[in-house]
Amino acid sequence: MSPQLIYPLIGAGLFSLGLYGLIVHSHLLRKILAINIMGSGVFLILVALAKRSGEMPDPVPHAMVITGIVVAVSATALALAMMLKLHTETGRTDLPDDQQT
């Protein structure tokens, strides 16, 4: 098994795991964490597929993933700020729809 095969599988696993976490957990911080894990899974698949061209991997997916990491951190910061705002306004850390679960 080459790394080109192992890591996309791990990436698919991380994506599914993150999506599962996003669905079942109601605490917003944990949802944000789950989205970050999903993102890592996507990045992993992209970079592992870039390695298919051999010892000198395709640099375009690498650049896309670096861009993605920076976008992910800014989205995380915004999401965390929104969570804190919700918490100061209502004292809650979950969204109303999650009440029944």
Partner: protein, 320 residues
């Protein structure tokens, strides 16, 4: 043969520990523990990027994915628990799930998602060149020798221009949610104080080195910018504050320097070369270095401002 077997074993173990860390970060009831596990997850991801011959991504992941995201989450968690902000204090450190057992419907559908993804990954052709030959054949015209920097700042400069704007818009979004919560720094130990004073110049030096070396080796504006941002976060954590009489203009200019430099260069190249962000090959190296310098400053200041959270120049505070 033996080495390839060993590295396969290493890859499998590394991958399984990634999955294990992700699972326990999502499953543990203690949120603090979850964030720490997530930081460890980010560090292991950086190791994976090295295994996949992506050192540029590894640098970005170690600085941003593990470092700054972790710091952001820890500070958000601390604010959730701080008595100033919330009414219900006790219930937020832990997140007791009412039913700790696996919820079967989501679980089964996500297993199906995994099988579908795994199948599609397997059906990709094992050897595929992608855009790699194009990038390497045009590398001489890009002005830099590091292919990733060439893609980020030259071939796909438009993406990076938009990305700078995304960072800026995210900061505007955070600022629009309200003022920066007045955190009383309780006690700063002299060790932390001295350490941060000693470390800050080192951070700046490392950031400048990473920026410069990005032209021909792993590194570049994003990695350098996130190291600057980390220096800013360290300073903020050790009780450093903007002086009350500091004009906000300086910081606003720094925040906008990267996006503005990009937009200005895009406009100039559009007028002269006829193409957005198409640099003349002779000047490309210099133009990229200038762009990267401004971008690094902006990324660093933006990340530190995102960590601070909230609009820092409130009218009320100015009156005090």
């Amino acid at each position: 043969m033996e080495i390839s077997l060993l590295s396969t074993i290493f890859d499998v173990l590394l991958g399984l520990s990634l999955l294990g860390l992700a699972w326990s970060a999502l499953a543990t009831t203690d949120l603090f523990k979850a964030v720490l596990l997530f930081i460890a997850f980010g560090l292991l991801m950086a190791l994976v990027w090295v295994r996949l011959n992506a050192p540029d991504v590894a640098l970005a992941e170690a600085a941003i994915g593990a470092g700054i995201t972790g710091a952001l989450m820890l500070s958000a968690l601390a604010r959730l628990n701080s008595p100033h902000t919330g009414r219900a204090i006790a219930s937020h450190t832990t997140d007791p799930e009412k039913d700790p057992s696996i919820q079967w419907w989501p679980f089964i559908s996500l297993v199906l998602v995994f099988i579908g993804l795994a199948y599609s990954v397997f059906t990709f052709s094992p050897a595929f060149m992608g855009l790699q030959p194009d990038v390497y054949s045009q590398l001489v015209n890009s002005g830099v020798e590091n292919p990733v920097t060439a893609v980020l700042l030259n071939f796909r400069g438009y993406d990076t221009l938009l990305e700078m704007l995304v960072l800026f818009v995210a900061l505007l979004g955070v600022w629009s949610l309200g003022e920066n919560p007045a955190v009383k720094t309780p006690f700063i130990s002299p060790v932390l104080d001295t350490l941060s004073r000693l470390l800050t110049p080192v951070f700046i030096l490392v950031a400048a080195y990473i920026l410069w070396v990005g032209a021909h080796a792993p590194g570049g504006a994003f990695q350098a910018g996130s190291i600057l941002g980390a220096a800013g976060i360290l300073l903020l954590l050790s009780g450093w504050q903007l002086r009350k009489d500091t004009s906000s203009l300086f910081f606003r200019v720094l925040l906008l320097a990267g996006p503005l430099a990009f937009v200005a260069l895009a406009a100039i190249t559009l007028l002269i070369q006829g193409q957005l962000l198409e640099y003349p090959p002779a000047q490309a190296g210099l133009l990229i270095l200038i762009l990267e310098t401004f971008a690094t400053l902006s990324i660093g200041v933006t990340l530190a401002a995102l960590f601070l959270g909230g609009f820092p120049w409130s009218k009320n505070r100015a009156l005090k």
